[in-house]
């Protein structure tokens, strides 16, 4: 099925004084209505450029972007502006009008769409309620915390009743707790109003928290995309593996190198729990059944799409026969099993 957002062969080259910068190369994306689609990558990977191409704030050098089947590249300036009003956007630094109070900020997209001031205010009051900011209606942005500003920005984004919401690093300026609350708000908006959400981030935690799909971009190339579930279970590329297993944190890197030491020459497997299997004492049962201990090198339970999911790296007994039987046992219980040798790259 054609998605609400279809990106084909998108390439973006910036002309600068130092020469050409290829920010994006041959990107293909298909985002279905109702998805929460994460786009993740390191700094400078081209994420912002990509999201800006989705509403043509940035014109692609090559390739097409279609929103609900309409090619943005073929639109007149007027049509494009109308289309943009249907695609809301929120930003890392909120980008509110500093000289206008909260309610006027939320009214802004309505007023530019030609709505009467009174009607716009009424609608804005409603939206304030949705984002839980009623009592701050007359405050100015400078009097709000980062999380509150982002809530106002979300209310403003919702004002135009958009079908799509683009978020460029919307939680990157916020602390972990505020990030959580903003993410839940986005999730709620997605389920309640069926708004398709595209989330740009450099944090895997954000993707894990609310995204249904994810695309990984690296140096302007889309290296992997699919359901968050699948990418988490079977990352194919080095970039994906790095983001999922290692994370970016130093602590993890240290842990990794220790593990690598431990795993040298031993038989290690990585197993992934899916659906509700992690709640069963699978490992304990296996140990009881085979009467042989296994070494748990790493265990990590994460919350993906609201389902508790986890992965473990196990070191199996020396006996090859036993190894095979154990792998068999785990597979029978619906776990994804793969060799972990040299995995932690």
């Amino acid at each position: 099925m054609a998605g609400i957002i279809e990106v084909q062969n998108l390439t973006k080259v910036f002309e600068t004084k130092e020469g050409e910068v290829e920010a994006l190369q041959d990107i293909n994306l298909s985002i279905q209505a109702g998805d929460i689609y994460g786009i993740i990558g390191m700094s400078g990977a081209g994420k912002s450029t990509l999201v800006r191409c989705l509403n043509f704030l940035e014109r692609p050098t090559e390739g097409t972007v279609e929103i609900e089947g309409r090619d943005l590249g073929a639109m007149t300036e007027m049509e494009l502006r109308w289309q943009r009003s249907q695609i809301a956007m929120i930003f890392q630094h909120f980008n509110l009008l500093m000289q206008k109070n909260v309610i006027d900020n939320i009214c802004f997209p309505l007023v530019i769409a030609g709505m009467k001031k009174k009607e716009a205010r009424a609608k804005a009051e409603e939206l304030l309620h949705i984002v839980g900011m009623e009592e701050k209606a007359r405050a100015y942005p400078s009097q709000l915390s980062g999380g509150q500003k982002q809530r106002v920005a979300i209310a403003r984004a919702l004002a135009g009743s958009p079908k799509i919401l683009l978020c460029d690093e919307a939680t990157s300026a916020l602390d972990p707790q505020t990030t959580q609350s903003i993410l839940s708000l986005l999730k709620e908006i997605n389920t309640k109003y069926g708004i398709t959400i595209v989330i740009i981030t450099h944090e895997m935690a954000v993707v894990r928290e609310i995204c249904s799909h994810v695309a990984i971009i690296s140096k302007g190339h889309l290296v992997e995309q699919g359901r968050v579930f699948d990418i988490f279970s079977h990352p194919q590329t080095k970039e994906a593996k790095k983001l999922i297993i290692g994370g970016n944190e130093e602590a993890n890197l240290n842990l990794e190198s220790r593990q690598r030491e431990q795993m040298k020459g031993k038989s290690c497997i990585r197993i992934v729990f899916s659906s509700n299997s992690s709640f069963e004492p699978v490992i304990a049962n296996m140990v009881l059944k085979f009467g042989q201990p296994v070494n748990i090198l790493k265990a990590d339970t994460k919350n993906v799409e609201g389902i508790a999911r986890g992965e473990m790296i196990l070191q199996l007994p020396e006996d090859e026969q036993m190894q095979e039987s154990m792998k068999e046992y785990l597979k029978e219980r619906g776990l994804a099993v793969e060799e972990a040798e040299g995995y932690v790259d």
């Binding site: 943009r84 930003f91 980008n95």
Partner: protein
Amino acid sequence: MWTKEIMMILLEGVGNTLYMTLVSTFFGYLLGLPMGITLAVTDKNGIRPNRIIYKILDVTANIVRSIPFLILLILIMPLTLLIVGKTYGPSATIVSLTFAAAPFIARMVESSINEVDKGVIEAAQSMGAGTFTIIWRVMLVEARTSILVGATIAIGTILGYSAMAGVIGGGGLGDIAIRYGYYRYQTDIMFATVILLVVLVQVFQTIGMKLSGRLDKRKR
């Protein structure tokens, strides 16, 4: 010495100076504001880059600003004659003051608008706002404090220029200072005019800063 007559002259001088300053500032903004906005918008980093328009305004502003005011005053006398019918007196001075102030004002407006957070402009664009809407509802709103501060500076400068026009009989306090202080050696009158000029500048400065401070919602 401080006869009623002289008091009347000084009072009239204050009146004329105020008249010249305020009216020239008004017309200066009438020309300079759109010019400054156009400069900011057509700049290569603006929301509607246009090299030709930008260059024309840029060069015009630079040329006018590099001509010393007294020379500009004389240069545009034919135009002044055409517009007000004479080349001396407060109304004539307003013409030259306006032309001298407009590019200066344009530059200040341009820089005020360039200070507006690019993110907010991008947000407006992402909502489908057109160029005019962005100018009117984003740039001028977000830059208003800075534009007001600019206006305060502009008024002070125009007031100073208006006094300079006294050299060629432009009217106002400057004119009085030259006529009495320079030609008749009545230095006390000259001092009085200088003090009055200082007070006027001070008053405008205070009002302008208070107003812009009150209008700025970024504080507190």
